[in-house]
Subunit: 384 residues, 2 copies
C-alpha cells in the first residue's frame, strides 16, 4: 500500500464485510462509515461552517466542476484554498468534475484526451482532462482529490459502458501521474456499470494503481436497488482484503447506507438529504414527513421527537409548515439542519450498531420506517 | 399618564430633544433609542432567534396583516402565541395592519367602520376594523400592539389627508375601547401627512388618549428628507414633555436615525437593512458596499473591518461576492446578519454618543460615509 497524506485503519465486524475505521486527514480524523454533506459551490446550502460542526459533520464535499466555473479554482487558490475560502476547517473531499460534466454540462465532446463542454451557467466552452481536473483540485487544496473518470448513460449498450470504463482506467493512470500535491490524497474511481464482468475488470485495473483510496462510481444513476446491491457485492468480492478506504459516490438514502455498509463501504456523499429538505421532505425516526402536508399546520410537536438538532429543540412542526408555505428563507435552513443531523446521527447509529452487534435490529427499524415507497432516487443532475 | 404593562423612563441629553431611556416590557427591557428588526411573517428573514440574540436585537416587529392572512392569528393563539410560535423570547411589537392594507392589499374599500380588501397572496376577501386589528394582536400576544390607522397616498389633496387623519383619530378611540389584554401595551398613531397644522391637530388628538406610547405614521413614504425632518419637529414641539415612548414607523436609514433621535424618537423599525442585504448592499463603517461589484471577487478582506458580527469575523468579501453570484442561500443569511449588526451597533453607538456628548462627531462620521447618494427610500410595499 502506498504511504500517503492520509491514514486509514479499520477493523472487521460481525456484519458481512462491514468494517469500522478511522480515516486520518491533514484537517482531522473521520470515523467510518461516514457521510459527507455536499457543498457544491463552496457552501453546504443554507448552513454555515459553525452549523456544520454543531450538526456533527466530520468531512464535506466540494464540486470541482462548479468551483472551476465559478468562482474559479485559480481564484480560490489565490484566496488561500477552499478551506480558507469557505471557512471550513475540517476535511474536504473534492470530486473531479467527471460526474457533472456528464450530467450537467451541455454540448459534450469526449475524446481520449479529455472532455470539451459548455458551461450550464453561461454556455461558455471549457475543457477538462485528467491533468486539468487534478490541477484544479490541487488549487482547491482539498484533503482528498478524485481521479477524472468518464461516466456513460447506464442505459447505453455494454460496448459503450466498456469503452468508458477503459478510458476511465487510462485517465486514472494519467490522474496519478499528474498529481503532485503532498498533503492531498488521490482516490481512483471504479466504473463498469452494472455488468459483473466489467466491474471485476475495473476493480483489478483501479485497485492495481497506487491510489490512496478507491471509489465506486456509476451507481445511484437509475439502476434498481437489486442491481446496486449486486454490483456492490461484485466489487467487494473483487477487492478482497484491500485495506484502503472505500467510497460509494452519490449514495444515499437511509436504507442504501445499510446495504452499502454491509458490503464494506466507508464513505458516502449525496445531495439527497439537503435537496429534499428544501422541498419540505424531512427524514425522521418515524420515517419521511412532508412538512407541507396540511395536517402539520396545527401540530405543536417537534419535527422528530428523538432528534437533538437545533430545529427540533427549538421549533414546532406547525412553525416549519408555516415557513414553507410562506416561502421564508429560514425554512430551508431549518430543514437542512434537521436532515443533515438525521443523516449523520443515523451514520453514527450504524457505527455504534456495528460495534455492539445491533446492526440487524437497527436496519429492521429503519426498514420499517423507510421501506415503503422507497424510490430508487436517480442522482439529481444539479448537484445539491 | 396611564399605568400599563410597560414602563418607560428617559432622561434628556444635551442634543436637542434626544433622550436616553429604558422601556420595560413583559419580555424584557429595551435600551432606547432602539431599532426593531422586522419579522414580517413570524421570521426575520434568513436568521434564527439565536442569531438575533447574537446580533444584539432587543425587540423585533411582527406584521398583523401578514400573520392574519397566513398562518392566521387564531392559529398562532392556539399554538401558544407569537413568542412561542417563532421561538423568540424577547419583546415583540406588532403593527396593526393599517400600513399593509394600504400598501399591499388589493381592491380596498374603506368606510368608517373599517377596510375590506383582497389578500395579496390569493385574492381572498378580508376585513379589518379597529376592533378586529386589536383582537388579532391580542391573539398574537405581542408586548406592544398598535392602534388601527388609515394611511393615504401622501400625494393626495389635503382634504383627503385630513379625512384619513380624522378617521384615524376615531379608530384610535375604538382601538383603545376594544383593547383588554392586561399584559399588552397599546400605542396610538399620529397621522396628518406633512402638513404642520394637521400634524399638530393629530398630536393633540392622539396624545390626549390614554395610550401607553405614541407612534408617528405616514412618514418615509416618499416625502423629502427636509419634509420628514420638518414634520418630526412639528410633532416634537406639539408633544412637548409627554413622557411616553415615541416610535417613528418605517424608518430608517443610517442618517435618518440621527435626524429622528435629535427630535426625541425612541423606537424605529424598517425593512431596509434586511431587504437591501438580500440584494447584496452591505452597510459598513466605510459606507455602503455593493458586494456584487466585480472588484470584490478577489478581495480577501472582511466586509467591515470594524464589525464584530459572525459574517465579518469568519468570511471574506470575496466569499460573499461568490455566494451572491452563485445565488447561494447562505449569501442572504450572511448579509442579513451583517446589516442588522451594523444597524443595532449604530444605534448602540448613538446611545453611547448621547451619553458622552459625541453625538455630533458620530453624526459627521456617518454623514461623510452615507451622505452621498442617500436616497429618500420609499418604504417598500412588501414588508421585508
Amino acid at each position: 500500500m502506498p504511504s500517503g497524506p492520509i491514514s486509514f485503519s479499520s477493523r472487521p465486524t460481525s456484519i458481512g464485510r462491514a468494517r469500522l475505521g478511522t480515516l486520518g486527514t491533514p484537517h482531522g480524523a473521520i470515523d467510518t462509515p461516514q457521510f459527507m454533506p455536499v457543498g457544491t459551490q463552496a457552501s453546504v446550502k443554507s448552513v454555515t461552517p459553525a452549523d456544520l460542526h454543531l450538526i456533527g459533520a466530520q468531512i464535506i464535499l466540494g464540486n470541482t466542476y462548479h468551483l472551476s466555473l465559478r468562482p474559479g479554482a485559480e481564484r480560490i487558490a489565490r484566496l488561500g484554498g477552499l478551506h480558507r475560502f469557505m471557512a471550513w476547517d475540517g476535511p474536504i473531499l473534492t470530486d473531479s468534475g467527471g460526474f457533472q460534466v456528464f450530467s450537467l454540462a451541455h454540448l459534450r465532446e469526449v475524446d481520449d484526451e479529455g472532455v470539451t463542454f459548455a458551461s450550464h451557467i453561461d454556455g461558455s466552452r471549457h475543457r477538462l482532462t485528467p491533468e486539468s481536473a487534478v490541477a484544479a483540485q490541487e488549487q482547491l487544496g482539498s484533503d482528498i482529490a478524485m481521479a477524472f473518470d468518464e461516466l456513460v448513460d447506464p442505459s447505453r449498450d455494454s460496448a459503450a459502458v466498456a469503452g468508458a470504463m477503459e478510458r476511465t482506467h487510462r485517465w486514472a493512470e494519467r490522474s496519478l501521474a499528474a498529481h503532485s500535491l503532498p498533503d492531498q490524497a488521490l482516490f481512483g474511481i471504479i466504473q463498469g456499470g452494472i455488468d459483473p464482468e466489467l466491474r471485476t475488470r475495473s476493480v483489478a485495473a483501479i485497485s492495481g494503481l497506487p491510489f490512496d483510496g478507491l471509489a465506486i462510481g456509476g451507481l445511484s444513476v437509475g439502476e434498481t436497488k437489486a442491481e446496486m446491491e449486486g454490483t456492490l457485492r461484485v466489487v467487494a468480492e473483487a477487492l478482497g482484503d484491500d485495506a484502503r478506504p472505500r467510497y460509494l459516490m452519490g449514495v444515499g438514502s437511509p436504507l442504501d447506507f445499510f446495504v452499502a455498509v454491509e458490503q464494506g463501504i466507508d464513505l458516502f456523499d449525496c445531495v439527497l438529504p439537503t435537496r429534499v429538505a428544501r422541498t419540505g421532505q424531512l427524514w425522521t425516526s418515524e420515517g419521511r414527513l412532508n412538512i407541507r402536508n396540511s395536517r402539520f399546520q396545527d401540530d405543536p410537536g417537534q419535527v422528530d421527537p428523538e432528534c437533538r438538532c437545533e430545529t427540533c429543540k427549538t421549533f414546532s412542526r406547525a412553525y416549519l409548515a408555516h415557513l414553507f408555505r410562506a416561502e421564508e428563507l429560514l425554512a430551508y435552513h431549518l430543514a437542512t439542519v434537521h436532515n443533515l443531523t438525521y443523516t449523520l446521527d443515523l451514520m453514527r447509529g450504524i457505527r455504534a450498531a456495528l460495534a455492539d452487534g445491533s446492526f440487524a435490529s437497527l436496519r429492521n427499524t429503519v426498514q420499517a420506517r423507510y421501506g415503503n415507497a422507497e424510490s430508487r432516487t436517480k442522482r439529481p443532475v444539479t448537484d445539491q
